[in-house]
Symmetry: C2
Subunit: 228 residues, 2 copies
């Protein structure tokens, strides 16, 4: 379970008078913002999710990418934009052994989108990217991996205003068409790019939909399936 | 490794205009304070320690008491003082198996002093108490446990103003005498009560001293040893 927490992070940043800058849906992470997101994601949200899981009979372990060197990262190189303390995942160094050990011990890994580089510098990483990276790394070990992106919509909609315009499956050609039409835009683009990359790299099933419909999403009865 | 973070928590609470009340060195934890301490302890401090350990070649996993149901707790009953969201450890339900698994896998557990009750309510617990509870629970499994309380002094001092007045070992009779003289007071009393309780309950060695002198503390060449 990989979670984010952008709304709560923005709220805390506002209370602390730390101004937030976004670039194409990604948070520019200066030192003050790193402090905020680490506290909100790896502290408040992560531990509340774990405690709520335990209360529901599911044992979980709350982690960030630094724990057990789960998701080694490097600070993103500055090209046109300096994202600050934002990390890029070192895909071939993901500690899948540790994840598989947790899963086989019956512990649900609950992962906050924070990691660190080799110097111990904490870094902020997009949660969708972490979910995709972990799914691809687990698929490479031979596991049949399902990746469910859950958010506050029923899936990819042809018209955001029309909840009944759900697209039940989408292939790359349809995706390009809907982007060209403007039906898919802004925050959905990095999410879908991530989803298509996962399918291309061996993840068995990728679905987007509402968190509340998780059983239906897993059963293929809700959401938008990504077709490679 | 059990850590606290009281100074940073107080600093963040001040920035957020959340007033802090202490009672006999213990923080009264209302809902706003719980938010602050969870973020600071389990988020910022915990993940920075883990990242710094990884950078030094020590693999660690950052946890709170809710993770893997490591330290089940109950909210402290209200007697004369309502401590708010403060937990009491359920000593006989500590998940020592999980701790021993981590240690045998070469992972250092890094533990923030936050846990949860059976309803998923997060709770704030004194870090010294958690350290003592874990040491006693590990000792009961047959391990030869050393408990090192590290802080910003060389150990128990006969005169706080005189760094060379270190008491190299202390027994219960000397402790009572020094309390009566007023040489030991305030924050040192719960710390030493914890330390003596650990020795009485099977912890092999308990030492107090400076974090910077950890090798000397382990070797018995620095700090104050607690004698049962």
């Amino acid at each position: 379970l990989v979670h984010g927490g952008g709304k709560l992070a923005t709220e805390l940043a506002n209370r602390l008078d730390i101004s937030q800058q976004m670039h194409e849906g990604r948070r520019i992470t200066d030192a003050d913002t790193l402090y905020v997101v680490t506290m909100v994601y790896a502290g408040w949200i992560n531990k509340n999710i774990v405690a709520q899981l335990q209360a529901r009979g599911v044992s979980g372990v709350g982690l960030c990418g630094a724990d057990a060197a789960l998701i080694p990262a490097v600070r993103r190189p500055v090209k046109t934009i300096d994202y600050g303390f934002v990390g890029d995942v070192l895909h071939d160094r993901i500690n899948t052994n540790y994840l598989l050990q947790l899963l086989s011990a019956g512990q649900a890994p609950v992962i906050a989108p924070i990691s660190a580089d080799a110097t111990g510098q904490l870094l902020n990483i997009n949660a969708d990217t972490i979910a995709q990276s972990l799914a691809i790394a687990l698929a490479a070990t031979g596991e049949a991996v399902q990746l469910i992106y859950s958010f506050d919509r029923a899936g990819v909609l042809r018209d955001v205003e029309q909840p009944d315009s759900l697209i039940s499956s989408i292939d790359p050609a349809t995706y390009e068409l809907l982007k060209a039409e403007g039906a898919i835009h802004s925050g959905m683009i990095p999410k879908l790019d991530n989803a298509f990359a996962a399918v291309r790299q061996g993840v068995k099933k990728v679905v987007l939909g509402r968190a509340e419909q998780l059983p239906e999403l897993l059963a293929g009865k809700a959401g938008t399936a990504i077709v490679g």
